[in-house]
């Protein structure tokens, strides 16, 4: 969920109890005010009635609400002495509404020429249920209005404020250190975003720098290793040729030579990896994978024959992929070589090719290889001492360069796949 909607959601949930609470408080405060002013009005009427009573004593005869809004009921002295003035609500039949409606009643006791009366004055009341209903209606309206304006506010104003933030994280999402794309940040007046942008730029620059440095280090180190390797190999070869050696001595020296050759291969693979990552294979052409696969299978026929293996190549199309020819050769060669080297002797390797997929399947170790580590550097399978552990890392680097996807699956057989799109 996006940050903007997240806050909106929280706010709208929080608003609901807030508005409800406020509604209760408002309702009772308003009601209190209404009662207060009604009661003031009733008291005022009482004062007016008492004044009128002096001029017009006959009004004490009125004991019915049908004619007036007041009644006088004679009471005895005892009740008069203990009488407490009160205001209360009661229901009364209203002719216009044809229903019982609430009215406010003021009861008090008065003395007039030694006669005692209970005076009741009424006034029509606010209809509480209607008031509550209206209040709820308006409050729902208010709630909706608030939520909608909250959303609009978030979407229009906050979005604008948060733009530099989203711009930055959008770039981070697409950032790939090996692609060397630069991160640009939008100018902003908000301190937190400024800090974020500065930190991002600084971190990216630092990582890129050390990545480039590391790449160059590997390339330079590999270059520097070539000459001492060459000297050692050639010196040993000359030594074997120029000196009469017995079998044991020759074999020892040959073993050193073998290991130097291994070191050379390792070094060459590292160099190749650096070169791919340093984008030193620029020229591209349309590579026919059908033709290329056939050529490489042909190159391996001696090794295949030696292991008693065969390759069954099945294809129903000849996809052409735009890439560097040398890298295409390396890519397929590594897969085919792995299948032969790690494959079980006297078994069949299956290669299939169509427009979207190149796949190779072989019988090997009876367990799946670790998917996560498979394409990383120096990942050796089994105890093959001649393997550099770089073949699949090189393939991965080639695949990355041309946006091809590599995958592996295992169901008793090992299958490696190249997805073309």
């Amino acid at each position: 969920m996006k940050l903007l909607n997240h806050t909106s959601r929280h706010l709208s949930v929080l608003l609901l109890p807030l508005i409800t609470l406020w509604a209760f408080a408002f309702y009772y405060a308003m009601l209190d005010e209404i009662y207060d002013s009604l009661d003031d009005g009733l008291e005022n009427q009482k004062v007016l009635l008492l004044k009128r009573l002096k001029k017009e004593p006959s009004i004490v005869e009125n004991s019915d609400f049908d004619k007036h809004v007041y009644t006088f009921d004679p009471i005895n002295k005892e009740i008069y002495d203990n009488f407490k003035e009160s205001y209360h609500d009661t229901l009364m039949y209203m002719y216009n509404e044809e229903d019982f409606e609430p009215v406010r009643v003021h009861e008090s006791a008065i003395e007039h020429h030694n006669n005692y009366y209970k005076l009741k004055i009424i006034t029509s009341m606010v209809e509480v249920d209607d008031l509550a209903q209206d209040l709820i209606k308006y409050l729902i309206g208010l709630y909706i209005l608030l939520v909608v304006s909250l959303l609009l506010l978030n979407n229009f104003i906050l979005k604008k404020i948060w733009k530099p933030f989203y711009h930055s994280i959008g770039q981070l999402k697409n950032f790939k250190i090996e692609k060397e794309n630069k991160i640009t940040t939008l100018p902003t007046h908000i301190d937190e975003f400024k800090l974020l942008n500065e930190t991002i730029s600084k971190l990216i620059k630092k990582s890129s720098d050390s990545y480039i440095e590391q790449k160059q280090f590997i390339e330079n180190a590999s270059h520097e290793l070539q000459t001492p390797l060459a000297i050692s190999i050639n010196k040993l070869e000359l030594f074997i040729e120029n000196n009469p050696l017995d079998e044991e001595q020759t074999k020892s020296l040959a073993s050193i030579l073998d290991n130097l050759d291994r070191l050379t291969r390792l070094n060459k693979s590292l160099l190749l990896l650096s070169k791919i990552e340093n984008k030193q294979f620029l020229d591209e052409e349309s590579v026919d994978f059908l033709e290329l696969t056939e050529t490489i299978i042909h190159d391996f026929e001696d090794l295949l024959a030696h292991k008693g293996m065969g390759i069954n190549f099945e294809s129903n199309s000849a996809p052409k992929i735009k890439m560097n020819k040398d890298l295409a050769i390396i890519l397929l060669t590594n897969f085919i070589k792995n299948a032969i080297v790690h494959g079980q002797p006297n078994s069949e390797i299956h290669i299939s090719l169509d427009n979207n997929l190149w796949s190779i399947t072989n019988i090997g170790l009876p367990e799946a290889l670790n998917q996560n580590l498979l394409f990383t550097r120096f990942r050796k399978i089994g105890s093959n001492t001649k393997s550099t552990g770089l073949g699949l890392a090189i393939n991965k680097a080639i695949a990355n360069k041309y946006d091809l996807e590599l995958s592996y699956n295992f169901n008793d057989l090992h299958t490696f796949l190249i997805h073309f799109d």
Partner: protein, 223 residues
Amino acid sequence: MKILIIEDEPEMLDNMRRTLEREHYNVETATNFKTASTKLGVYSYDCILLDITLPDGDGLELLAQIKSQGKGGGVIVVSAKDSLDDRLKGLNLGADDYLAKPFHNAELNARVKAVLRRLYFDGHKHIEIGNMVIHPENREIIVDGDQIEFNRKEYDILMYMITNKNRLVTKAALAEHVWGDHIDQADSFDFIYSQIKNLRKKLSKSNITVEAVYGVGYKLNIA
């Protein structure tokens, strides 16, 4: 045959010199751009091995100098860089071959011989060895007047062994030369053995033998 090696690394230079001297070439050396340029100005050579990374100048400039002088002679560019760029530049500037460090002595020998053969026999002269005659232009091999069929790999192995005759050729060097780089990680070079077995069968009537040296490599001898 006069060969000039231009190489700044003294030990590398020494190895190359000794390898080529075993083949009875007249080898001269230069360890920097200046000496090399002077020598090239005064003398002519049949083959020049040129390391393009020199401490005091660009080896490719030397190549341009050699080609502008038009004295003939083949040039093999030697580089530790093995970069496609250098290779293409070298070949575009007229180098005959490109050899990446590190290499096997047998490979150096084979490359020099191939350059010399191209230059002086124009690829047409046949090679006689014992009772065998080889016509490289059509890959024909005749033993005692009878033509023997060799497949491509058998022919390549034989030619490589002949180029390095009487010398130990390690399995690694042979595999790299005949099968190319892609074979180099194969778990063993045992598969070479079956090729050698076939080769020996076909050579049975010749007086050439391919001797195994303690499982390390092979040596071609002429009886």
